[in-house]
Symmetry: C3
């Protein structure tokens, strides 16, 4: 995807978001929606939420990107995803799919695949189990968390890098698989990212937050979607590290949630540039 | 609206809320609903949420006021808004309309106007673009934020004061337009309020929170709705100032959100009285 | 319920949750859902939310327990409650009912009773007014809060203990009535719990949070459901005490919410064991 254009830095990606304030339409679950909105504001974007089929055509038209998250899908919101997704693609907007819980129910797997096949999202972000269920239906899922058997590790890294490049090639989307090690790939190259902290999994919605932010990053950097999504992934992980460094005795996951969003709000281009831990394979 | 009754102080308005604990029925969006509930509790009110047409008749009947917010409207909740709105008015309850995103989609504009025309809310609170779209359909909206071209400034203040008084006269509602300068008006007089901080726009839902709180204030002060809504607007802005004064290095919009709600919880009549910055035109 | 099995300690209940990480399916209101998810993570469980009838059969099947909360019920979610509830019981999962606002509307009262009669939940947790409305329809409710006339006090404690044991006997469920004094009972014995702080009522959703956590506790301790629910109630109250002890000048209900969840995250078996304040009658 970024083949013909010179690479830009993660710091430049961040600055483009802060300068252009991309408006992102979110059709997302009601569990983490408030955090998604605050993270979009923290990173320099602007959120709007709508999941009514009669409303989404107009709403997505005035935005730059669409974040589709199937976390608490229902028949109404699935229809809204279709309407908004088609309209967003017609207008050349960035569409991101977060297939929350794909593999955990037939409806979620079917809906996620329908969006991949009919809408052709520009970016797909999920955990490894969710992504596997999109590929082959062979993934297992423990609810909304990845199955341990699927984890990306140093041992299976080469295989996983190839897997994610292949899936990108097949879908023509930037693929982001997040976990202890994060992978962000297009058909040609894969960012292997080692930011973040394990305690982030004790906060609901860090994945959803990242999906909202990655949409804003891709909207603001349309010629560099792979780098932009990788920058968003590094920023999320780095903010988890910064947030953790500010934890005091007695603090727990609720305060940690606040401190991560606070960190996203405060990270500047240089901090991201220096704190991002990744290699490209 | 307040023509025949002696004006009361903002501090008195606050104390009436704390003494009477008004129960407010909210049909509101799922993005900011938790903050709306906590702000209602913080200011001394009591929240209840329901958006099912079969449920709202009973629920609104036991409340003192109804806060209708169209932020994530759908066909079901629009029906609930009608049922609850009519019932609330029959019972003489305060009804407030927050036309979130009016002007951004045909459905939102149409729904907001339907509520104005059929329910006759006692209070309408929105940003300038939303209010303009109610008047003439001529407003533009950048998603859920006001369009810069519409902003209330010192330069156009006289015109805007007249505009809001006229709209109040036409709708027979107290009108609150919030932004860098806030205007709260009935047909006869307009509070020009200069509390608040620009960073409040980096938190999702401060407008929604204010709408919930303004409903409680109007319920507790039925003879002084204009003053009560103005007091709620001052309290929101003042809490933004107090919250900001407690920010530490590294804090961002998530912590700021908490500190604002904390401030609403702690402000007493005297603090509001001394901190409110307004003139009446 | 715990008649034939030796009692275990509250600390043991807590450790079982942390060791087994019970996956809990929540059909819950959108007001407090984010806090419910973070509390489930804080206590060592894992949350998943789904309220679409076509989705819940699969989702509940992979979980260990189901938390049904009628706080913002609608016709779709009521259908989902039935489908999920029946499936969960077929599989021998723990089902908890939180009858939010039962007594405040006909639909809520009817739905809560339908769930009691048709699903036969293992645990029912509510305030005294809600529980009374399940028994006889005679309870009064002030919105989602208990009516003062219904309060459990030292004076009527003996009567209330008998009332809750009788209701447990009738429904074959563990009954938890929370308020200034909490009661958790099966047909044979009743935990009278005096943890907690009055300021907890100024935070939206501490009851909903407790219901999620109590489900996880019952799932992890299937042979000791009464003790497990009592342990969850003590943990919630104790966390309210610990959270309060960390409040600083200027903090309010929003910070208090965070500190309570933080405390749940940090409390270990010994702290719970030593901090739980209860007697068994």
């Amino acid at each position: 995807m970024s083949g013909e254009v010179a690479r830009i830095s993660m710091g430049e990606c961040l600055e483009k978001v802060r300068k252009t304030c991309p408006l992102v339409h979110n059709i997302t679950n009601y569990v983490t929606v408030n955090d998604v909105a605050n993270v979009l504001l923290a990173c320099g974007g602007s959120p709007i939420m709508s999941d009514e089929p009669e409303d989404v055509f107009d709403i997505t038209s005035i935005c730059g990107g669409l974040n589709i998250n199937i976390g608490t899908l229902n028949t109404r919101s699935i229809e809204a995803m279709k309407v908004a997704g088609k309209r967003a693609k017609e207008l050349g907007h960035v569409v991101l799919l977060d297939p929350v819980g794909a593999g955990a129910s037939a409806l979620r797997t079917k809906t996620a695949r329908m969006i991949v096949d009919e809408i052709h999202p520009d970016v797909i972000r999920g955990n490894i189990s969710e992504i596997k269920s999109l590929v082959s239906g062979s993934g297992t899922t423990k609810g909304v968390d990845a199955d341990a058997a699927d984890t990306v590790t140093e041992e299976n890294l080469d295989t996983m890098v190839q897997f994610v490049k292949d899936f990108s090639s097949k879908t023509n989307a930037v693929i982001a698989i997040t976990g202890a090690i994060d992978l962000v790939a297009d058909a040609n190259e894969c960012y292997v990212i080692r930011n973040g902290r394990p305690e982030m999994s004790k906060i609901t919605g860090t994945g959803c937050q990242l999906s909202g932010m990655a949409t804003a990053y891709a909207v603001a950097n349309p010629e560099h979607k792979t780098e932009a999504v990788a920058a968003a992934v590094c920023l999320m992980g780095l903010s988890g590290e910064i947030g953790w460094s500010r934890m005091q005795e007695g603090d727990g996951n609720s305060t940690y949630r606040n401190r991560i969003i606070d960190a996203i709000y405060n990270v500047d281009a240089r901090t991201l540039q220096e704190g991002a831990k990744y290699e490209i394979r």
